[in-house]
Symmetry: D2
Subunit: 416 residues, 4 copies
């Protein structure tokens, strides 16, 4: 079905014209997904402004982006529970407005009901509250896992009459793994899959996404599609993808500020960053193996932007349950100026992590859908500014990244 | 005398080859000038790294910039006192290294001895500790003032065998003045000068600079060469100039951070900025009339970078004597994200104002000399990133301003 | 009716035993009163913990304090509007829990319906949204005003079968007034009242309270019962009273921290305090005349606790609408240690002003009722720790103030 | 020799009347000792104010405290190096004034020359730059170590004609040790010493101090005289002592602020503390075993002052070389108020650790000498406010601790 077909069809169904795009949310009852379910409804109904969505600002006008009314949510989840319970928790944390929750009850229940079993990453098996079917799937051979996910995606596409499904990884950070030779090229990976060697869940999802003809967005620090093998697979299936690790808070500020010191030739001596958070993400990251991947991404940024050999950096993440989703970060920048004078800049960021992440997910899904519509495949390099560890590499300077995105938007307009 | 002549001559005198450039420092015993006297010596002798000087970083290599060893300091001052006393105060504040002060004693004394009387801005007459000749000059007719300054500049050029003199305004902020019709075009200004109508000191200096064939850098928020009349005069005399109000600290951070909120479509509700400083600048700014110009510049920046109609901003400057030159600023950014969640970013900047300003002055003098050497005249638009209120207008986004400067550097390299 | 009568009566009415105490809230639809209406219900129903109430902690066990279930709310208001609207605003600001608001709807409506017209302070006449009867009362002669308030208080006592009514001033800060000779002693004040000379509303309320046999708590910086004349009147009528200006946030921190510097012989050079708030209190304080009283109280504190002659202090209050009731304060303490080293402590306080104030009001009402029950009259010196400008004077050191309160509690226990 | 003898003698020697008191500084070339050498000279010569010395404030007037002019410095050191090099480092860090260093050169050299070899704690053997005689002493049997130190102390007393020597432990934090049964009572310890079982250096110093008739001050978190066995030994030798771990910065602020939350019945949910420092202390603490003792002391404080079961706390210490002696700490206090509202207080402390510690050492030595003069022995409970982990236990509330010290001072005055 082409976009044109969809448009003609939509005239029959009362749907707005344009592509219907599904979001397949891995971690479908997590805090970000919950914000998406209620927030998207609020956007469509005009109850919320599109705050936090760059794709709704002036520079993106006129692009062939999917409209909010054409976005359909689905996904999978490994834990038991209900979306309503997740929503009530976000109301208690004073993130979600209770009247919005009430107004969205029917749709939220429908979304909740269609959530499929998820795939738990191997090292996390044994976690409490696991959905039994997810537990079973977690123990299956990788080819079986892939097939199960592909058929979930196809069912979603068919049932919801979607022109495209974008797979979005919003699951908790996986435990760190040392690189595996099987990830180095596609034939090696295929052999490992054939041999039944277990792979990280984030990678299995990415394989399934590409095989099902879906773009893939990895909002987590997990491996996902970042390996050479997966990049080849994406090209082979002609799918665009992007990641890793959404740049929502402290790292965003870092990549906006660090270039300032470099441009002014001020010598940063030390940059200490302390992050505190209390949501499930924080709980998972309180485990050293899970924290390792996260911190590596956050620290790399400064080395590139400032990086003289004497630079001292530190990135800490601590679990502070009472903060729940309200992430607080404090950074100290100790720097030297002319005459050897030593000065400091410190900042405290107090942000609601899920509410910062959710609009970025919407942006990325719209951009992935746009890229796929334009026939682009492989890494979406223009999305680097959305990630702590962008797959396409390049400068971490947020301003350069943003201007790269603007350039892409301008090119789309010219070539459309 | 051309640069070529100068080079041949320098082979006789033992000076390094290249243009000899004089800096005429208005406010020659102020904290920035004091840092320049000792700091330049430290740079030339290799005791100090060129920290804080963008023109000494990689992107500016290969440009025909004056070398530190070819920069000669001179200037004028309205207050009594000695440079040594100013230096001891900066040692006490733990800004200047006492061993550097000791090593520079001879040159500092020579500089001090050649400082000329300055021109006090009219409303400031009556200030304590005024040099009597400066007091007399302050009361003279504007044409006489201009003539006196021109002959000071010419004497400096001749005595020090300089290829060029760049006039730099580092004096305390002048009292606010409402715009005068005489500033609107050059003929009107010439008539006012003929009629003996007193003009702001910063403007008189700029007139004298252009008439003496000198570029002019206005590092203060005072009027200087910002009026239409003065801009015409600069073009008429073929001189480059730039200003106003060096962007050293809190505003620099603002202009690096504010674009981040805009690019992420986060809605800034309020941006409150509180500045505290205890040096002479702070004392002068504790007077409301002097503060007015300063705050106007600082506030304008956010309106442009964020500027939706509901934005609430505040910029305060308070005099806190004990902080002396160590300026401390605290900013609170209150912003709204997706779902109407309200979040904050706050930062504290603790910087040594003079040590931040001095290398910017060296950058600007080198750039002004370069522009003059290349035959450029009028506003140096590529220096916008150095100023809170850049004469050439344009975006206050520090990153855009920096890339404009890089573009200029690249053009110089191509066309040299 | 005595407490004993009340107890026997309560066995008939199903009320808990003990004194029934009314709170007459001046500013009955303001944010603090709104928090009190819903919060008291939450306390009585066990939905809320008594967080923020010192009188519910261990050191106060065993005192004859009124129980929450015996507190009855009433009051007056000068502005139009409804409590429900005020509650919805606090829900929107994420201060009040919507389920608590829903559960309290009936009682809140009853409270709202029994609010009487208030007395507007003269200089504030002309404010928008004024209740017409309040406007009329504002223009009446002071004797008539007093009589009207006395009869409101008596009606409240009779209708609600109260053993005692405590009058609590929670109105917006009044404009500053220079001291009036009529305030210097009671006969002078009586003559002024007879002569029909208008008096500050806060003082008229205090006169009426004492004449009606009610203790009076002034939680605002307005004059209230702080003058010699009023202090005499309180003694004459045998009523206890306390004030001025509830110590809820930044000043609380100041009075906890400043003694530390003094005890360690560290020399505080400067203490700069910046307060931002966006509620009605902030709006009123954005007017210089209203701000004057507030700032005087806040600044006095440091002079007493640290007060060497060179100490530099500043207290600013800025209106930042988006912060609404979430007051944010930033303080910088610049101090000198051994060897003349200069160091800093800075803190940021982000608190919900009404939620901080409401439990203090409950504490004070319980303490005022206890004092009255014990036959005490005049200034309640043991409540000094609750106020920025305690009527009984003494040290502002919060720890000394708290230990004074503990001593009082111990004495009550001994003598009961 | 009695104090009276000393006074008569001093009339012959030109020394001020009163007791001559020696300070035996363990870690005699460390940053605190260096500050003491130059700072004491500055105090005696009137170049410095006694900032940071509580014993020089009004409440301590009239006590029989040793005068600055009667304090004589000596000590020991395990590392090679010179005091001059240590002083130059503190000048570079802008802590010591170079003119004070120059004025004290002769005395500093004399002090440096008389420093004795120190005793390295066993687990630290292998550290670079160790003095060879210290290395030898570190490997000796404990009885031999004790004897060596006793004779160092006796030689210092004799050569400097001292009435008393106070031993002060200022060495780097020792590695954590699990409690040893030999520490549980004095006979057990004596047996262990006889058996040649190695003991922590801080404990060996304390034994030697008591055996030589010297009070002992443990400014470090090392074990020192905190065990039952040592406490018995102090009583047996009639010597006063105090410790552990000087309360100089972040913990001081904590113990001044935490009671405020408790007194206001505000519920602290989390208190996160991050410390950064770059001096030798920081370097040693970057080793987990050395950090363990330090953090235990810092964390205990909050548990006692706030300590409801749900309280979440964290204390981190990170080594940031560029900060050198300028310790920076950031604390976040997340607390709940009435209505379940969640609020924050955060503070940043930027202090020069050695300049904060040095005057506390002078206070403690004067108080130890006073106690010894008054015939007191055992733990100096009135000094609790000087320590993170006071030997006498009691409340960590800094205000209560200070008032305990004031009470002691008052008693001394009454009974003198």
């Amino acid at each position: 079905m082409t976009a044109a077909d969809s448009e003609s069809e939509s005239s029959h169904t009362g749907l707005p014209p344009g592509r219907r795009v599904g979001l397949w949310l891995i971690g479908g009852r997590g805090a970000i997904s919950t914000c998406l379910v209620y927030g998207l409804r609020g956007l469509v109904d005009g109850l919320l402004e599109p705050t936090g969505l760059a794709t709704s600002t002036a520079p993106f006008e006129g692009l062939d982006l999917a409209e909010f009314g054409n976005l359909v949510l689905g996904g999978c989840e490994v834990r038991r529970g209900t979306l309503d319970r997740a929503a009530r928790e976000l109301v208690r944390q004073r993130i979600l407005d209770p009247s919005l929750v009430a107004a969205t009850a029917t749709e939220a229940a429908a979304y909740d009901a269609r959530l499929a079993p998820g795939l738990l990453d191997g090292p996390d098996v044994g976690m409490a509250d696991l959905d039994p079917e997810s537990a079973r799937l977690g123990g299956a051979a990788p080819r079986e896992q892939i097939a199960a996910i592909v058929s979930q995606l196809e069912a979603f596409r068919a049932q919801q009459q979607l022109d495209r499904v974008v797979v979005v990884n919003l699951a908790s950070t996986e435990a760190w793994r040392d690189p595996d030779p099987a990830w180095a090229d596609l034939p090696a990976l295929q052999r490992a899959l054939d041999a039944g060697e277990a792979q990280p869940a984030s990678m299995v999802y990415a394989i399934a996404a590409f095989e099902a003809g879906c773009p893939y967005v990895n909002f987590t620090p997990s491996i996902g599609a970042s390996t050479p093998a997966l990049r080849q697979l994406a090209l082979e299936h002609g799918q665009p993808h992007c990641g890793n690790d959404g740049k929502t808070g402290e790292t965003l500020v870092k990549t906006a500020l660090a270039p300032m010191f470099a441009h002014r030739a001020l010598k940063v001596l030390a940059w200490q960053g302390y992050n505190m958070l209390g949501n499930r993400d924080g709980e998972v990251l309180s485990d050293p193996l899970h924290r390792r991947a996260k911190i590596a991404n956050k620290d790399e940024v400064l080395r590139q932007l400032i990086g003289h050999p004497e630079l001292h950096t530190h990135v800490g993440i601590d679990y502070v349950p009472s903060l729940s989703d309200w992430k607080t970060a404090w950074d100290l920048v100790h720097f030297e100026g002319f005459l050897g004078t030593r000065m400091t800049l410190q900042f405290t960021w107090a942000g609601c992590d899920s509410a910062l992440a959710a609009p970025l997910v919407l942006d990325l899904v719209r951009l992935a859908d746009l890229a796929a519509s334009r026939g682009e495949s492989g890494v979406m390099e223009h999305t680097a500014g959305y990630f702590k560890s962008p797959l396409g590499g390049g400068s971490h300077d947020f301003h350069l990244q943003y201007h790269r995105l603007l350039t892409y938007a301008a090119e789309c307009r010219v070539r459309s």
